[in-house]
Amino acid sequence: MAAVPVSVITGFLGSGKTTLLASLLRAPALARTAVIVNEFGTVGLDHLLLEASDEEIVALDSGCVCCSVRGDLVRTAGDLLARRAAGAVAAFERIVIETTGLADPAPILQALMTDPALADALYLESVIATVDAAAGAATLDAHPESVKQAAMADRIVVTKTDLSDPAASGLAERLHALNPAAPQLTAVHGALDASRLFGGRPYDPRLYDPGLYEVPARGHATVTTFCLRRNAPLRAVTLSLFLQVLAEHCGAGLLRLKGLVHVRESPGRPAVIHGVQHVFHPPAWLDAWPDGDHTTRIVVIALGLDQRWLEALLDALDDEVSELERNQNVQSCDPR
């Protein structure tokens, strides 16, 4: 059975997540969608605002999914899949998780990435962040959670654009500086073509265009977004050590890392790497390079990490691995 795509809709309080989701669920393309709604509070309301059609809606209302109910989330997703297999619920083809407005998306993604029972059945398709066109700038200023949500998103939906023009207010530029690779879509009263948010290719080579990341992250001193590029292929050991050092020393600050890597030992098949903080998917190997650019490109979205440090670290690790290789070659040639 095909793995079920999972999308996470996040966004600060009042930014229009539920309105967007309710509107999307009316689209025929999302008719076979299971929804997991996380509500923070003793009495959840958001799931009542979603109109039930063919979709299955489950509310997690015992706390914020990022800090207290990760186990519940995994269990709920597993339970939905079991009920689908048993024919107890409609045969949904997609799961959408709506987080609380205060949620940090990272632990949610990690919970889904690391659970072995779900590994064969689900795959993370995208993280969607809603940002209020009218209040978004002030929210970004005042609430680090909202900065993190926008920085980690694969797509950003700017809502309430009937109230404020994000381009005129500077919000669009600010979001672009924060997360240059995430397309910014707009929605008024949740109206948005679902096909622009879901589906499509699971791997998008446009994400790895270094030109996207030449704009420094203005207005968010703590969040940096950049692309490390290497012309020479990387040794597999160097890549592994690099990721280990990042995970060990800056795990919490590493919001997302996405890379298209020319691994020296696999010249014709680039590796795609994705990580959220210290948790990574197993590398995926493409059958071929998507275009003529065979350079390694590693996109980093991080809190307080300096590009120059990561560049130096990657080079220094490669120096060491190269040094070890030379030493082993010398030893293997030594007749003693």
Binding site: A2, A3, P5, Q110, L112, M113, T114, D115, P116, L118, A119, D120, L122, Y123, L124, P202, Y203, L241, L243, Q244, V245, L246, A247, E248, H249, C250, G251, A252, G253, V272, H274, Q277, H278, V279, F280, H281, P282, P283, A284, W285, L286, D287, G304, L305, D306, R308, W309, A312, L313, D315, A316, L317, D319, E320, V321, E323, L324, R326, N327, Q331
Partner: protein, 121 residues
């Protein structure tokens, strides 16, 4: 078994790169301090917190590092041993200079990036 060569000499670019790695690590750990070349050792560095003891870091090719106290208090135990590679060196420095800094470990999740049935495409 690896053989360490103590007579290794590195160029200025290598020194600059390693200095940047070490000083960047101090910032990541939230440690106020400095990294400088060791005046007594062409392959060495001195990593010093603004308060507290300085550490002497020395490279031994290939891929080996030693860490010792630069000015050990008479009778004090100098941190022993060698560390294989920069990852080991950075871990040791963090434990000595920033024991309270968060430390994680790489986790490779169970879930394939694109779903099991998609075969990497």
């Amino acid at each position: 078994m690896l053989v360490y060569h103590d007579a290794m000499r590195h160029d200025a670019a290598w020194h600059a790169r390693v200095s940047l790695v070490l000083s960047g690590a101090l910032r990541v750990w939230g440690v106020s301090g400095t990294v400088a070349r060791d005046p007594d050792d062409p392959d060495g560095f001195v990593v010093a917190r603004n308060s507290g003891p300085a550490m002497r870091v020395r490279h031994h090719a290939p891929g080996g590092w030693t860490v010792t106290l630069r000015d050990p208090v008479p009778g004090a135990q100098a941190p022993p041993g060698r560390h294989a590679g920069l990852p080991g060196l950075l871990r040791r420095l963090r434990e000595d200079l920033a024991p309270g800094a968060p430390a994680g470990r790489l986790v490779i999740g169970a879930q394939p990036l694109f779903g099991r049935d998609l075969g990497g495409q």
